[in-house]
């Protein structure tokens, strides 16, 4: 009988599918200081060790199902994980949103300026080489990213993939990067500093502001942070904002995700479902949010030097999840669209992306208008109108109009699901 406390869920699944003589790649965690002894060489039948990690008591090995059962009994072993393939941004998220097809048309965001308002960036990361056009430190820690969140977001939006031979390239690798550090190394900060970062970005003349941050919901979109986001849109800047990670409950979109004129982004999975953690509308004043969703689960992109955010892949990349990752992906697609059609206003960019999104069949307060599709946006393919899912109102939500039926509909939706 497998010991669920020692074997990871993924490994338990693999065990049920593996023949007796096949070996499964696993990573074994030992109690501290015991891994040195393990490194002397495998002695157990059916086990072949391949790598001994120096920074943690971990050993990578291949083991047959019988050998794994024996390893489970080893008191020096704490946990056994299935070694899983990492997912590359280029390998999964980009094809889902059909960004490579847009790149093939010759659009890479060249001439577009994107501001990442976050924890700063690693200005020395090879993926941003020659494209960091401006930085500002609004928290007094220096512009370096000691958290890793801002660097990852920047990598998703516009990383070149230079440190991975293009494997972990972002959406718009021709765009210029502006970074305002408004969150401390802890990943937290104050609304007033975020407001200053947005104003700085507008003064720099950026085309797009990407905000993978916010406060708890619900918000009615009338606070100072929402106001400055809407003012930035009024000045001509596209503002893309994360919905938050407080799902699956309704009324979980906070500020600035609840701002009327921003493009609010929820997270979807590689299987085109809305991620359970993705925050849901309606807003406190019963408007539909998010506006759309984009892949935000296990996204590999740039890692800031000497940071441990997410699951590091190598010194230059790490894998993270959240609406934080979905947001710069949308910001990157905005850059592709604005390169092709520079005459579009900020409101028109938002409307285009919403109108061309792929309906996932969820309620508007869960998926917005659906999952973003870069190719449909570029070609303005609005043929099949996304289903708004609101029985009270057939018009698509644009974040500006109250939707009286939203509360009732979302509540009943979750009630139905909970009942199975």
């Amino acid at each position: 009988m497998p010991n669920p406390r020692k074997l990871s869920d993924e490994l338990l699944v693999s065990l049920g599918r593996t023949s007796a003589d096949s070996q499964i790649p696993v990573i074994v965690r030992y109690i501290p200081d015991r891994v040195v002894m393990r490194a002397k060489g495998p002695t157990m039948r059916g086990v072949s060790e391949s790598y001994n990690y120096r920074m943690a008591p971990l050993v990578h090995m291949h083991a047959t199902p019988e050998a794994l059962r024996n390893l489970e009994e080893d008191p020096e072993i704490v946990r056994i994980y299935r070694d899983l393939p990492v997912r590359a941004l280029m390998d999964t998220a980009l094809p889902i949103v059909r960004a490579p097809q847009v790149v093939d048309l010759g659009y890479d965001g060249s001439g577009i300026r994107i501001a990442i308002i976050d924890t700063g960036i690693d200005v020395d990361h090879p993926d941003f080489s020659g494209r960091v056009a401006g930085t500002a430190d609004l928290v007094g820690e220096g512009p370096d990213d000691e958290n890793g969140h801002g660097t990852h977001c920047a990598g998703v939006a516009l990383g070149s993939g230079a440190a991975s031979a293009g494997r972990y390239r972002g959406i718009a690798p021709g765009a210029l990067l502006y970074s305002a550090k408004v969150l401390h190394r802890s990943g937290q900060g104050m609304m007033s500093d975020v407001m200053a970062g947005i104003e700085w970005a507008v003064e720099q003349g950026v085309h797009i502001v990407s905000l993978s941050l916010g406060g708890p919901g619900p918000s009615d979109g009338h606070d100072a942070l929402c106001d400055i986001c809407d003012a930035a849109v009024e000045s001509g800047v596209v503002v893309v904002v994360a919905a938050g990670n407080d799902g699956p409950g309704s009324f979980t979109v906070g500020s600035p995700g609840a701002a009327r004129r921003v493009l609010t982004v929820g997270a979807s999975t590689d299987e085109d479902a809305v991620a359970p953690f993705s925050s849901r509308g309606p807003t406190a004043d019963n408007r539909v949010k998010p506006d759309l969703v984009a892949p935000g689960l296990r996204i590999t992109a740039a890692r800031a030097g000497e940071t441990e955010l997410g699951s590091p892949v190598d010194p230059y990349y790490t894998e993270c999840s959240g609406t934080s990752m979905a947001t710069p992906l949308v910001a990157g697609i905005c850059a592709l669209l604005m390169q092709k059609e520079p005459q579009l206003t900020a409101d028109q960019v938002k409307a285009r992306l919403m109108a061309t999104a792929i309906d996932l069949g969820e309620h508007p307060c869960v998926q917005g208008q659906g999952r973003i599709d870069a190719l449909r946006a570029i070609h303005d393919e609005q043929g099949e109108a996304p289903d708004t899912g609101d029985p009270n109102d057939g018009s698509p939500g644009d974040g500006t109009s109250p939707r009286p039926g939203c509360l009732t509909s979302v509540t009943s939706l979750f009630t139905r699901r909970h009942k199975g």
Partner: protein, 86 residues
């Protein structure tokens, strides 16, 4: 919409000597208002031209006096925000 949330106003009353971080929306010239706010005892952190507002730190007693000025159109808490991924 009220100029200030009643719960926040009550916090000021309960802690007149406590320091609060606030965002104050004003009408009129932002630089002139900034100077006036400093004269009233506010420590001004930043001014925002996009929204004609100012972030300040001040005591609860000063905050209560702000709401009596007709050129101050709204006062709210400078709230915490956090990153949404990892």
């Amino acid at each position: 919409m009220p100029k200030v949330d009643p719960e926040l106003r009550q916090e000021w009353k309960d802690g007149e000597r406590r320091t609060f971080s606030l965002i104050v929306k004003v009408s009129g010239d932002i630089e002139a208002r900034r100077e006036t706010l400093e004269d009233m005892g506010c420590q001004v952190k930043r001014a925002y031209r996009l929204t004609n507002s100012v972030s300040v730190r001040c005591s609860g007693a000063t905050a209560l006096s702000l709401t009596r000025r007709p050129w101050i159109t709204r006062v709210e808490r400078d709230s915490n925000v956090r990153a949404f991924g990892g």
